[in-house]
Every structure is written in structure tokens, then in C-alpha cells.
Amino acid sequence: MRTFYPSDSCKESQLDSLNPQSWLQVERGKLSSSASSSAPLCRESFIKVPEPQILPHYKPLDYVEVLAQIHEELDTCPLQERSILYLLQYQVFRGLGETKLRRRSLQSAWQEATTVHEKVVFGSWLRYEKQGEEVITDLLSSCGKYSEEFVPLDIASYFPATTASSPEAASVKTNRSVSKNVVFKIGEEKIACQRRKIASLSAPFHAMLYGNFTESLLDEIDMSENHVSSSAMRVVRDFSVVGVLIGVSKNLLLEVLVFANKFCCERLKDACDRELASLISSMECAIELMDFALEENSPILASSCLQVFLYEMPDSLNDERVVEVLTRVNRSQVSTMAGKAPFSLYSCLSEVSMCIDPRSDRTLGFLEKLVDFAENDRQQVLGFHRLGCMRLLRKEYREAEEAFETAFNLGHVYSATGLARLGYIQGHRLWAYEKLSSVISSVSPPLGWMYQERSFYCEGDKKLEDLEKATELDPTLTYPYMYRAVTRMSKQNAKAALEEINRILGFKLALECLEIRFCLYLGMDDYEAALRDIQAALTLCPDYRMFDGKVAGRQLQTLVYEHVENWTTADCWMQLYEKWSNVDDIGSLSVIYQMLESDACKGVLYFRQSLLLLRLNCPEAAMRSLQLAREHASSDHERLVYEGWILYDTGHCEEGLQKAKESIGIKRSFEAYFLQAYALAESSLDPSSSSTVVSLLEDALKCPSDRLRKGQALNNLGSVYVDCEKLDLAADCYINALKVRHTRAHQGLARVHFLRNDKAAAYEEMTRLIEKAQNNASAYEKRSEYCDRELAKSDLEMVTRLDPLRVYPYRYRAAVLMDSRKEREAITELSRAIAFKADLHLLHLRAAFHEHIGDVTSALRDCRAALSVDPNHQEMLELHSRVNSHEP
């Protein structure tokens, strides 16, 4: 995944390897002078928490409402408007940070595109987004499946052939007797043509040859002054007879096209346009022809050149000539190359450009175009807000203010953050504070970012209060935790600081938070823990730079490493086993990182890494690790297993199974059997397949592997047995898994107790898991099913405290309220989670509540928003049609 703001690449700072605390001073730029100073004066205060960037995204106050509106418009709008609506939906999901959903919206925009220009823009955009996924295409083709999704289009075929009415037939008869032929003289050369054929090329020619001009009486016409070469004239003559261009060189085509334009020969021009488009062979060629195409108003050629530019993103945007053309073009030229899709075009270009460098002139140029082509308020909001963000980054404050102001006045309240920052920069801190206060009091309910932003403009208790409120409203905002942690640290309360930062790291593995914790540990001289965090951070982002981008994370890792006791390979495995058993996923990641430093069996290690990353809910990083595992596989059969997982994870279950079988064909191995069993179990609802899964897992357990993996296999075997109600066998599996310290097996065993009607034992079992596991939010959630309502409630409160992103607790609490007829409170409970998480189940339940209390409008809104998140959710569709039929 690309990060939005790449850090400035600063010069590497030289760090003192002897005094790790001194590194923290890099923050203040005091390093060179203080590196040798031995006084560790108040070192904690050196940790600085940068204020978060203003996100250059469309962030409506009530995204549910906007999604619902879009959904409704999609239902009723003409077909050609659907694409642009999906683009808007994309922008909403972008603002919500929903990678998967926004990509689906983009896919829909592409699928629903009605014009060739939209197809080109969205197709290239998707291609750009899917960079690095070529390996999946390759793997699929190795299974005999080909996808040709985003191949360049044959643009010309989308343009209807010009059938300009020839002026020939109607008026020829009326003419005086003129000779059948006419000779065009160019310099010394004479080119004989059929008068009637030439006349049929265009109205001007017809008038010239049959009208009241002197030429109509002449048999020889001198064209020498018309900037046309004799060879071009011969091409014109041939075309006038046969109606097609055959084997004409590029330069000649250019000349003929100019000629055609001059004499209004529509068919001839169209033919040249098409021929030229077919001759584009390279980026260079496209750059050269684009200028010409725009000059001569040739849509097919221009669109084809544009396609080359877009197809080659992001590289093409580093070519100044490309950028120059795309930012210089005027309105009619844009329409020549991009038809009716200019807004989509510049949305795409500005977004890609921002990823490369948000501060560049190029980004600015594209954003100005984006604003120019915005057709409605929502499009303008996006354009102006983005423009404001970029101007702010470029320190062009006056222009930034203008842009934010426009967006704000168009209803984009989030742009107030930009205005506040600008006010603050200009010294109007109180004004900034008041601005946010007025925003907070004008909306109900307020959102987390409003309080977070206001906290920048006040001090002391007021500041802490605002930050507390921000976390309450949106627990996913990282800044408040970081600020609080660092403040506590500066008050010498290390334990409280850690506790605070652990709150967020327990459910959101944010790099900036890992960095803070790393610093805290350094300050506490706990180098082992510091090393763990930096290694985890580098696993997620190998090029991560710390201290506001000033120092490469790798460098720090190397330095800290020197301060801890080094482990042998055997130590590492011991540690991994220990941490894995304690469900300490970050700790396990770190050990694996360390093991990867030495070069033994990397494939296996990367594979383990991907398993951990999946547990930590980092699917993109997990996929990257799987691909690394594939590259580092030590044998073909091992590689096939990783390929199988890659395919399975990208939705190609059949092909994944195929790879597993191939692998087993070469060598029977634990992982290959495990993959086969897993893919089969998860893809099939057929109870008869469970016996196959059982025998595959038994095969897996017969192959050599370590206890970590065997524990997992035993655990999965147990759950198959539970599904087919063989509880004794299931219990055996779980007990054996626990013997090899697969701690998660407690959960399965609890289920067995429960199914045997022993709720108390199930509760006990889950309590054991909660005690052992480092990450135990899901265990609390599960335990809540095995106790009475009061205990369940307190367990679920705990879940929300540990991981506010888990939705079941909100749903449960809301349902309890609903059952006690507290409808308003129930809806509020759901709404507070919906505010920061666009979750299908939350929206579904709120829709059902609204339906229940007869609030059809709200129910319909929630239905539509939920269906924007998952258009195929069956229950949702039913609820929607039911609610819809209530509509007056």
C-alpha cells in the first residue's frame, strides 16, 4: 500500500550508538551539539508528537446520508451518469479509509462507464491501484485462467465512422459542361484527379469545382500556395477514389490531416485521425502526437495518446512534457482528448500526483483543472478542499484560505480544520479555537475530529478534555493517545504513558503509535521492548522513517540491536514459540523480523509473518509477506503452497486448491495438506466434505512440522468435528492442541462444553484463554456468550474498551436497550459506532430498529447506506424492499 504523504527525504543524521537516549534529540535538531553531552536532561520531553495532517479527502458530516443519497441517485439517474456517481462514492469511502470498498466503487465506475473516455480513465486508474498485483495475474495464467481486465482499448472502434454527406449527387447535374478531370498543380508537379471525386470530399471543394468560382472553369488549379506537398496531394487523390488510406506514412498523414482540416474534408480527416491513432507505438510517439492532435482537434488521436499517458502512470507523470500538456490544455482541447469525462480525468491525475508528491507544481496544476471542471457542489467541495490542503503544504496561505473558505461555504465542514490552522499560523489562536467551537455547536452530534482539532488551540485541562472527547467520539484517531502518552511521560509517569499508548496499539497497529512506544521504551532503558516495536514497525513498512522522516528506521533498529542480548537461532525459535503461545502477535512479528536478518529458510519465516499480519488485521502487509515467502521458497513444493495461499486470498479458491494438490504431487507436506483442508473447509457448506477435510488434516499431522503449526491443525480439526457434532473427537483435538500450547484451543474447548450444555465450564475455559492471551478482546467477546446478561454486559464493555472496532458489543447493548423499549438510546448506541465505522451489521440493525419504530425515512437511509457497503447482502436487500414498500 502506498502511504499518502511520503516523508521528506532528509539527509541521514549521524547517531551516537552508545547513548540511545540521545537519539531522541534528533527531534529537536540538537543532535550534533548534544551528542557528546552526557547530561540526560529531561530526555522524555524530547519526544514530540506532530500534529496530524489535514486529510485531503471528502469528509461529509454524515457519510451515511451521503452514501444513501448516492445510492438513491444511482437507482434513478440516466445510465451515463452512473459512473460519476460511483466516483463520488469512491471519494466517500476514501475519506472513511475503506481501501477495499473504495476500490470496489472504482471498479463499478469502470464497469458502468458509458463512454470510451470514462473507460480509459477508470481502467487506467484501476490498473494503477492494482500495481504490484501482477503476480496474481501470472499465477492465474499458470492455472490456465486469463484476465484481460485493463488492457488498452482500441479507441478508434468506439468512435462511429464519419459519414459526412457528400455534396456530390444532388447538384452535379445542374452544372454546365465541365471536364471530367481536374489537374492540381503543385510546384512543377501535376496531379490529375477526377473532378467529381474531389468535389465529393467537402463542401468547399464542391463549391470550388462546381460553383461560381473561376476554378470551376479551369482544368488546372495551382495549389502551390496551400502548403501541401505533391505526395500529400496524391494521397488525397487516392482517398477521393477508394475512400480509404492505405500504407501512408506518419508524416504524410499529419500533412494530409492538416489539409483535410483546412478544406473541411470530414471523412478524410476522420480517416487520418484513425490511421494516426493506430500508429502510436511508444510514450515518445504519444507525446509528440498529442500536441498535434490537440492543435488539429483530432479526438481519436488525442484520446489514444491520453490512454498511453494514463496507462503508464505513475511513470508518465514524471515526464515534464506529459504534465505540461495535461495542465496547459484549454477547455475545448480537454474535450477533444477526454470527451465528457474531464472531472474523472483530473480526479485520477490529481490523486496519483498527490501520491508521488503532494507539494509539486504538477499536483497544483491538476487540482486547478479539477476545480475548473467540477460541475456540482459535491465535486467542487472535493476540488477546493484538496486544493486548500496542497496550498497549505506549499505554505501558500492566502490561496489556501480562499480554497478552504470556498469548500467550507459549500457545506464541507471538515474544511474548517484548514481555516483554523491558517488562522493559527497567522497568530489568531483564539479565532481558531472559536471557529472549531462554532462548528461543534452547530452540528449534532459532533464528530471526533472537531474536538481533536480544537485541542491544538488550547492548553492544560481544556486541551485534555477536548482530546478525551475526541477519543470518545472516534477512538480510531491516533493523535489523542499519542499526546496523552507523551504528556504522562514528561511527568515521569512511564507506566501510565505506556498504558495510554497500548490502548490504541491493542486494536490499531498504527506506525506513528509504534514509534511513540519505541521512544517511550528508549526513555525507560527497555531496549528489548524498544527493539520489538521498531521491528514490528519495519515489518509493516520496511522503509519507515522515524522522527518526522529524519532517520531511517532500519538504522535505529541496527543501533538498538547492539544494546540487547543477541539470540541464537535456537533462542529465536524458543522466543517465537513462547510469544506465539501467549497470543502475542506483535512480539511474534518482531522475533520473525530478527530471524529474517540471518538468512536461513526465509520462505517459511515470511509465511509465518503473513499469518501474524492477518491476525493483526493487516491484509495488505500479509499479502506482501506471502509474496516474499513465494520469492524465497526453498523448493518447488513449498513455493506452490504460498502460491496457493496467494490465490486463495485473492478469491481464487479453486486455483488455490489446484496449487496445493500440485505441491502434494511433488512432496507430501504439512503446509500443503493444511492449505487444501483449509480452502476446502472454508469454501464448502456441504457437510459431506467434512470427512475429506478431516482426512486432509490427519494427513497434514502425519507430516513433519513444528508444534506451533500442529497446534493450529489440531485446532481446526477440532472445529470440523464440532461442526459435524462429534464432540468427543473435537474435545480430544483441542486438548491435544493445548498440550502443545496452542492457547487458542481453549476457545474450541469452551464451545464443546457449551454444546454439552455445560455453560459454566465453557465460561471457565474462556477465562483461561483471557488470562493467557496478550490480545484477548475476541476472547472476552466469546466468553460473553457463556454467561448471564449482567456478566455478558461487563465482558462486552471490556471488549469495547480493548477494541472499539469490534461491532458485536454495540449491537448487543443496543438490542438489550431495544428489548427494554428504550428505542432512542438503542439507536444512539449504534450511531456512536457508525460514526467511525461504516459497518454493514451496524447499519443493518439500525435500519431494523428504525423500521420497528416506524421511522421509514431513516430506515430507508440506513438500508441504502448498508447496500452501498455491500450491494449483495441478502437480508439487507429484503429489509430494503420491505421498507421501500412502506414509502408513501
Partner: protein, 470 residues
């Protein structure tokens, strides 16, 4: 061992399923109001006995039809000699028009595309012979009519692969379920030749939704396979919504004369809609000429007798009769179904919301000791032997969730239905007091209402299975 064929000696006819076993038990001890008031009440038989009076009245008014006369003249000789397997043209015309009328005259049926068969059993099997080689598979949504194992598989050697539907969405067909069934067939190395659905469904008593029909048509289009739509209950739709046939969907999608439409075949019969299973009148309707021609030849093995065709062509040509009949039939079915539903509710039992058919799909999951098919069979035995009601357990219909039962309501008098409900209620109350769940059925119904209507915690707690870790 005698030298008999494997067909005869094997179990492939499927008639040993509990669906049929219940019948055997019933035959031994059938209920009769006067002669055997403690006998078993037959609720496993999907017969429609609610409108015989209408047909009998018509017969009395039109003596020619049954008397084998035309305009007062006997046509006995012609009918006695008639054996053209194309059937009586006027009968096929009348049948086609009747089918159109049931579909609100939105679609048309061409009589030349109708093949007559001795009931839908024969029609279904004939279609199988036409479309599948032995070992080829058809996909059927579960739960399905137990007789299909015999009708579709036994003699033809074709296979059935279930499309698993679940109570979570009212047993509707979903795309993923379809895909999974298809993949399952491939895993079993079976060539999938088509999908067969009953619409309205037996045993669910529900119509397929337009969404499901669209899904099916898209599916068979993309997989290039056949769709058999068994619409023998189309005249029993009594709900507010009108019956939607696969023909409607083809028309809406402008596929009427397409290649796809040639792969869509309808099965019809008069056994359910007119309540005449003894007359053995079934039909295939297909757009594929080859299928029509081959099936017509095969129909020699089971034709509809000429006097039946003659009688019914007169009956169905009487438009006034057919429209009154259809109206009245639906009204009576609706009343009867409501009676069953409220009777069940009084016993603390709910059923799937239905709008068609001669039966309800009844949810007795709460009466199971464990959530298993063994427990379902146990409960079923109690209901047959102790409560003395013959109902069909869901497992016989290949339902994947234990605890569902098909209960028929149109083959008995109202009094008998009342008695049946009374027996059931007594049984449930006796078990309730044993289990000390609730003291009276009144309480139970209250708690049930709470659960189904407003117990949100219960609904929310229904957590999905979380995938295993790796």
C-alpha cells in the same frame, strides 16, 4: 437370489425414506371420524380436496363431457380408438389457455410445444431422459420433494446435487449456494446438465421471488445448462402477490425466442391445481423442438387416456368455470392455511411464511432434544406413533437443518384439521411441563412472540461462524 436387475434389487428408488415410511404406518391405522377416531391423521399427503364440489357441480351441468358425448351424440368409438401420442388438439389448446390464465395472461403458451404425460412424475422423468445421460447431474434447491429421488434418478441414472438453502433467509436460493452446488458437482466429477426447481416450492409453500428467478436464468445462461421449472402448484398461489413463472422472467428479459429459452422447460400437471391426481394428467412445455419431438415419442410409455383428455378439454374450455374455480380454490386454500397456522401458533409453533401450496413448512426446532437429525427422527416418531399425525420430516426432503416438518392441510375436513391441532397442542404442552420451560401454551406463545417479534438480543446473538485461523 433371483436373477433380477440391479434397479429392482437396489434402494435407488428412495421409497424407504421416512416420507414413505410414515405412509405405511398410516395405512395400518388410518383415522376415520366414526370407524377409527384414534387413528393416524394423514397430513403427509399433498392432495387438494377443497373444491371437489365445484367440479362435481360442473359435471352435473355438463353430462356430455363424462358421458363421452358431443352435442348429444356418442363419440365413444372415436375415443376408444384414439391413440395419437400428440394428444387431442382441443385438450392441448385448453390446457395451454388454462396455464396462461394462471399466469394472469401475461405470457402465451403454444399448444404445439406441449407434450402430455401421465402425471408430472412421468413428465419429470421424461425430461431427464431427454436432457441427461446416466451420471449427469441436476442441481435442486433443498428442501425438495422426496419423490424426486425416484422420479429423476431411479430409472434414468441421473444424479441430484443439492443446492443448500437455509432458514436464515427463508430458504431462498442465493448465488453463492448455486455456485457451491455447481462446484460440488464438479468435485464429484459429475457433469451438471441443469437446475430443477419447484415453483411454488414443495415443501416450502412459497413462490420463488423474481430475484431468484433472475438469478437462475442468469446462472443457466452463464453455465450453458438447462432449467426445469416444475410449476405444478402454480394454481394454488393464494397470497397477495400473483404467481411469477419463469416464463414471465424470460419475457421481461427479452429472452423469449433466444437460445436460452430453448433450455428452459416447464412441467405442469392437474393433480394439485384441480385436485385430480388420479386422472394422471401431466405435461411438459418446452421451446426446444428436439425435446418436444423426442418427449412426444417417449410419451407412448405413459399417455393420458382419451376419455380423460376429452372430459378435461370440455372442463378447461369453459372459461367461466376456470376463472371461478381458480378464484374459489385460492380463497379456500388461504382460509385453510390460516387455520393451520393459527392452530400451530396456539401450540407454540411457527412456520415459514407461505403464500402457496397445500402445506406449510413448520418449524419445530425448539421441540428437538438436540440439534441433530437423530433428534428430528425421534420427534417425528413421537408425532406419528403417539400424537398420531403423519407429517413429513425435513430430513426426507433433504433439508440441511434439523427440526423442520412439512404439514399438509388440504386433504382433510376442517374438523379433522381441528382435531389434529388439538392433538399437537396437547403433546407440546405435555412436553413443556416435562421440560418446565413454560407452564402453559399461552406463556409459551407469549415468549415465542417476544422472541420472533421483538427479542432483539436473541436476533443479534445469532452470530455467524467465524472462519478458522491458519
Amino acid at each position: 437370489m433371483k436373477q433380477l436387475s440391479r434397479k429392482v434389487t437396489s434402494n435407488a428408488h428412495g421409497q424407504d425414506s421416512s416420507y414413505f415410511l410414515g405412509w405405511e404406518e398410516y395405512e395400518k391405522n388410518p383415522y376415520d371420524e366414526i370407524k377409527n377416531p384414534n387413528g393416524i391423521i394423514q397430513m403427509g399427503l399433498a392432495e387438494n380436496q377443497l373444491c371437489f364440489d365445484l367440479i362435481e357441480t360442473w359435471l352435473a351441468k355438463n353430462p356430455d363431457a363424462a358421458g363421452l358425448k358431443k352435442d348429444g351424440q356418442s363419440i365413444f368409438k372415436e375415443l376408444a380408438l384414439f391413440q395419437d401420442y400428440h394428444g387431442l388438439p382441443e385438450f392441448k389448446k385448453a390446457l395451454a389457455e388454462f396455464m396462461e390464465e394462471i399466469r394472469g395472461n401475461r405470457v402465451t403458451f403454444d399448444p404445439s410445444k406441449i407434450v402430455l404425460a401421465a402425471g408430472s412424475t412421468s413428465a419429470n422423468e421424461t425430461l431427464m431422459f431427454c436432457l441427461a445421460e446416466p451420471g449427469d447431474a441436476f442441481l435442486l434447491p433443498t428442501p425438495y420433494y422426496p419423490g424426486f429421488d425416484r422420479d429423476l434418478k431411479w430409472r434414468t441414472g441421473a444424479e441430484i446435487v443439492p443446492i443448500h438453502c437455509s432458514s436464515s433467509n427463508g430458504f431462498q436460493i442465493t448465488e453463492s449456494a448455486l455456485q457451491q452446488a455447481y462446484q460440488q458437482a464438479q468435485k464429484l466429477d459429475l457433469k451438471v446438465k441443469g437446475v430443477l426447481v419447484t415453483n411454488p416450492s414443495n415443501p416450502l409453500g412459497t413462490m420463488l421471488t423474481r430475484r431468484e428467478l433472475n438469478l437462475l436464468v442468469d446462472f443457466i445462461t452463464s453455465k450453458n445448462i438447462h432449467l426445469i421449472s416444475d410449476e405444478i402448484y402454480s394454481g394454488t398461489v393464494f397470497g397477495f402477490e400473483q404467481f411469477v413463472s419463469v416464463m414471465d422472467v424470460l419475457k421481461d428479459k427479452n429472452l423469449e425466442n433466444s437460445e436460452v429459452s430453448k433450455r428452459v422447460h416447464i412441467v405442469y400437471s392437474l393433480s394439485k391445481d384441480l385436485g385430480l391426481p388420479g386422472f394422471r394428467v401431466g405435461a411438459i412445455y418446452s421451446n426446444d423442438e428436439m425435446v418436444v419431438s423426442a418427449a412426444t415419442k417417449m410419451s407412448s410409455f405413459g399417455l393420458v387416456s382419451s376419455q380423460t383428455q376429452y372430459l378435461l378439454s370440455a372442463l378447461l374450455s369453459d372459461k367461466k368455470f376456470t376463472s371461478t374455480y381458480l378464484d374459489e380454490n385460492q380463497k379456500r386454500l388461504k382460509i385453510r392455511q390460516k387455520k393451520l397456522v393459527s392452530g400451530l401458533e396456539a401450540a407454540g409453533i411457527t412456520c415459514l411464511k407461505s403464500n402457496a401450496g397445500l402445506f406449510c413448512w413448520v418449524d419445530m426446532r425448539h421441540l428437538l432434544d438436540t440439534n441433530t437429525f437423530e433428534a428430528e427422527l425421534e420427534l417425528w416418531k413421537k408425532i406419528v406413533y403417539d400424537v398420531k399425525l403423519n407429517i413429513s420430516p425435513g430430513s426426507s426432503c433433504h433439508c440441511t437443518e434439523p427440526g423442520w416438518f412439512r404439514v399438509c392441510f388440504a386433504n382433510m375436513s376442517e374438523d379433522t384439521l381441528d382435531l389434529a391441532m388439538k392433538r399437537l397442542k396437547e403433546y407440546v404442552e405435555s412436553t413443556d411441563s416435562r421440560r418446565v420451560i413454560s407452564k402453559s401454551s399461552h406463556d409459551r406463545i407469549k415468549s415465542l412472540r417476544k422472541r420472533t417479534v421483538s427479542n432483539w438480543v436473541f436476533r443479534v446473538s445469532w452470530t455467524d461462524r467465524v472462519p478458522d485461523e491458519r
